[in-house]
Symmetry: D2
Subunit: 314 residues, 4 copies
């Protein structure tokens, strides 16, 4: 059977392939589809369900593992969304947009479905199953990436303060949703804090960090013993070589500068070490500088796999 | 907390949103990631594993159900790939490429994982889980869509004939994979048919249709009783009004022409009926005209949800 | 000098090349930049300057000639804009968007500047020079293309009726622009016709066709003697073989159908003949069917240069 | 006349508008169409025609003037091509690709045609007129932009050394083009230098800088008196405040850092001054650091028109 006379259709495909701009950070954000309905159906605790958030985090960790150590440098999750920041050197799938987005969404979905029984042992998934959509956006600079993540974390704060107040007014204040909405209309952050404290004795700052700050997922390079120093102690409190380096970053010298003097082989060693580093989940502030200054490997280091796009910056 | 100073990052997102050309057929093709390794790991039967193909088909049917009755008009699956043809009137997600592709991939993945135990009751999924990637391509005409599907089905035939011969040479002929590959090098279709017949007594044309033709999934409009004729008999053999219409399509009058005279309300009625029609899986030839002439609703009819892109053609 | 270490930058280029969807009509529309200011500077006659429009038309004809006979099938101009419809088989520059748009804009600009002295012999161009921008949009069907052109011609009518009324109120009615604008606010077409007639004795329908209908540019295939019939008469009023064919198109048979029976060599002959046909400028209605039924070669015929995208439709 | 029923076609347009990624350098490169033929037709001097190159440069300067002072930061021309680097803050036309590319091409073409008689007073342009095509590519970092420009200048060197040798072998050596080509096959730079010197007494390094280095076009901010120092001397040899600043850039402090301390109003003052600066044409090395260290305003300064994309980097 001659297949050749149909093969012209491949031209349509070749001409529809978007490659994302090289040497930029790719952020892939996934969102739950119709999760409002899904969370009601599965009786998620309001305003936050720790099991559901932990399942999201576990699926995100699986994305790190499935794609390998050097692809995703950090991820941030809140509610039913998760953003994955890919290293700017990333050349996976030749940076084809559709492949990158669909792969991340597929991995996330597969683990979400597969891990469900672990986090909701007594509840079965029913049709329609939970699913996610995704999109990719490029950001050219570290500043843009940090502003993106700050935008999501600030959003988390704003939404969670609102939701906490809203549900307290309903669950403990006996209001209807409409009454609670009306009560909160036009209130500022301090008003909501006051409502929580004066009416329900809740100090918002004591609420769970996971609810207030969202979830930050990354490879904890700083906690991995350097191969040349594997006999050195590795406790959190100890100043390992990495910690010293990290501390040095807090000086006015820009973090990237600290790396400028590094040799290519040193960068490769760092890349290998990073790939072995444990993926950790934290609920911490990523808007201020401190988080980044202590973990310069996440955004400031150029690590291994220098590809053809790396330019003169060596 | 002021979120506004970070919100500028949304501009990067807005300027990176691809909308697929209106009034064209969107074909979303998904492919299994590393399924060669996965099929070995899960000991899929060679050259074809009926359970694995049936699981693919079940996941594809779920995409029809999840997206609703008017979105996907036909899907075609072979091996670890599936192509979904969206109606040219489709305006789902405002035709945003990333949302369409990631959603189809996510639904497919969710059901593949979720239905696995039904098709492989004695085998557990292990990490890394099976996942899929996807892409979307637009095709402007029915001819282009049919040629695309013919390309995939011709490919199915070519690959399956090769694989059947290859595995027979190994499993029954006692060859190593290298010997089998060498044996088949440069052979034509008739040579492979001859090898199968003379050495193993296999008439290729008697092999399972699912293996030879792949899987065609669509809504069987023709088998649904018309709401205005629900008292009419509906057996396959009976000539229902729809069947008559379908039969009429085999005359030289182009199928689309048959619809030209239809009123808007008739189109709406047809759309409603289609949304209720059962999703069927068949293993039939879709290269020749017969399949399409008998099922004009799949590609030739413009059905309901006439959106703003529909133009003057009413 | 080693150039190789810089050449990686070409990757950025390769990944930023948009190819327009095959088998669709490409419409490239160019617009004058700041022509409001330019027309004041050069004292264009209001509301319409026949010299300026004729210069636009001459530049458009040059685009036909420069790109060759089979690329542009029709162009439509009004005011300081011109739309060029490229045949759906067009594979010029491998359909790369930037090359197509910039080339058309460059040709148009070059001839506009170069031909200026012919149309404005007593006025010199001064800085800033008149320039144009452009964009390309794909349309999948003949209906979409006709609706696009109808949209532009309807716009021409609406704007010209307004402008004619507006300038009469100023030039002959002695109003200020503000007064004229106020006078016309909320008026319908019939009101404007009435104003023109009752106050200024102007029957709008007697205004110049070029002003009321814009300019239609195309190759007049129908007026070219067929190579096999070169001894036949060719007057407009005569029924040449082409005219007969064109007339046949007015029957209910869709124009495309008429071509279905044509052999490949016949199509090639037609393509050659078309490339030789004179480019004509007319000021006629292109919203109704008559124009198209009489000139089926413009949109309904698939002509020569059948490339690999042409599909099975032969 | 109701235009509304056609207006749906605008959707096709809206969904086909590419916006270039914010906060990246946009490089628009234009190329002469069929200039090999054109240069023969117009008897351009071989291997380089100073008049033709000067005309290219004059057209490029016009692009700076037409687009205004803050849009293009530097341009580089060689042979029949010119690359325009737009500031990364540039928000012209909302960064729509087609508008940016077509506008630059149109301006360049308009001035090329219009200025032709000045550079070729005794030769008339004939049909087909010289035209240009263009494309836009984004580059995220200064390093990428410098590598792009280095790539073009290295290319200029390689091509010009070849062409100079090739044409000497023909014009003075009496070879045919085929013989010259064969003679040069496989030669290295030093071989070509040797051929030029030993056979024709030509020291390649004494060839015109415009031929060997191409043309660099930029605004000479450094030569403009600061508004706050307009009574200060401004001779090239004098150390104006700007020159001092520029000189300071040669220290290990990265140029961008020098700006970090600048207030917003200082940046605005600098932007204003830049817009007034003369556009100069030079034929100098832009591969080494010296050019850039002395002119930090070209790539290293963020100037005025801080738009919403500028991020936190202030």
């Amino acid at each position: 059977m001659a297949n050749s006379k149909f093969e012209y259709v491949r031209h349509f495909e070749l001409t529809n392939t978007t490659h994302l701009l090289p040497n930029t950070y790719i952020i892939i954000r996934i969102d739950g589809r119709s999760f409002h309905r899904f969370s009601t159906l599965q009786s998620f605790t309001k305003p936050n369900d720790a099991r559901a958030l932990s399942l999201m985090n576990a699926a995100a960790v699986s994305v790190f593992h499935d794609l390998g150590g050097e692809v995703v440098s950090i991820a941030y999750g809140v509610s039913d969304e998760f953003s994955f920041v890919l290293r700017k050197e990333c050349n996976l799938f030749d940076r084809r947009e559709a492949k990158l987005v669909s792969t991340v969404v597929s991995i996330f979905t597969a683990y979400y479905i597969s891990l469900w029984p672990k986090y909701f042992p007594s509840q079965e998934l029913t049709r329609p199953l939970p699913t996610f959509d995704g999109r990719a956006v490029c950001y050219p600079t570290i500043e843009n990436v940090r502003d993106y993540l700050s935008w999501r974390q600030a959003d988390c704060h704003i939404n969670n303060l609102y939701n906490t107040s809203f549900w307290m007014l309903i669950l403990k204040g006996g209001m209807t949703p409409q009454e609670a909405e009306k009560e909160l209309m036009g209130t500022l952050a301090k008003d909501k804090n006051e409502i929580l404290w004066s009416r329900f004795g809740i100090n918002y700052n004591n609420e769970e960090e996971m609810f207030r700050k969202g979830s930050v997922v990354y490879r904890n390079y700083g906690a991995v013993p350097d191969s040349s120093t594997e006999d050195k102690p590795n406790e959190e409190e100890e100043a390992t070589p990495e910690k010293k380096e990290a501390t040095a970053e807090t000086t006015p010298v820009p973090p990237a500068e600290a790396q400028k003097g590094k040799s290519r082989s040193q960068q490769k060693r760092e890349a290998k070490k990073l790939a072995k580093a444990e993926v950790v989940i934290e609920h911490v502030d990523i808007i201020k500088d401190a988080f980044w200054e202590k973990r310069p490997w996440i955004l400031h280091w150029t690590l291994g796999r220098q590809n053809e796009y790396a330019g003169t910056e060596q």
